[in-house]
Amino acid sequence: MNSSNSGNVGIVIVSHSPKIAEGAADMVRQMVGSAVPLAWTGGDIDGGLGTNVAGILEAIQAAWSPAGVAVLVDLGGAETNSEMAVELLPEDRRARVVVCNAPVVEGAVIAATESSGGSPLAAVKRSAEELYA
């Protein structure tokens, strides 16, 4: 898990596999650079494949930006747990977090690219979701 201070939209990567989440984060860092707050999380609380709400919440806080945070998820539980994590955020932060309907690896790179140009949260989400368009 890592992050970087800036006013750009933060990116959070959530995968059932911590290796996928970390690897996708590596791709973002190498391809897009460090101008974007970035955090990743993966695995259930016992270290197996899965996701956990506390880990996602922590990642969102780590990648927090006043411009908001875009969350990229892989399968089912990653999405529902991410939505639960958003609900646990302080009320003033909830509206500034979006879960993108995009593939996790490509979506993370594209969302970070969009964010690195200073785009607002809605544009970051839209750009990542273009991958399924």
Binding site: M31, V32, V109, I110, T113, E114, S116, G117, G118, S119, S127, E130, L131, A133
Partner: protein, 104 residues
């Protein structure tokens, strides 16, 4: 390999156009696409690219669309730029292409 021809300075709505050969080995794959869109986003001008002088034109600020162009090595990339900082934008994107996006 670059014929920037502008009938007027950048402030008009007349698009500036130029072209350059894609020199880097793998063409316009993910990493160069990201660099190109990041560069393009630094300008307010509308920046488009195409594989032919008459289009179809792709928004150079959209990483997804730029990757979908799948421009191979050796392809001629055409740029069309409109806006007040268009001249600088065109110079910047051409420099990136000539430089092989820093990866040659």
């Amino acid at each position: 390999m670059h014929d920037a021809h502008a009938s007027r300075p950048g402030e008009t709505a007349v698009p500036l156009t130029a072209s350059a050969v894609l020199v880097n080995k793998v063409g316009l794959h993910a990493r160069p696409s990201v660099k190109l869109t990041q560069c393009a986003k630094g300008f307010t001008a509308k920046i488009e690219l195409a594989l032919a002088a008459d289009g179809p034109w792709t928004d150079a600020k959209s990483p997804v669309k730029v990757m979908r162009v799948k421009a191979p090595q050796g392809a001629m990339l055409h740029f069309r730029v409109t806006g007040s900082d268009g001249k600088a934008a065109l110079a910047a994107v051409l420099a990136l292409v000539h430089d092989g996006f820093g990866e040659a």
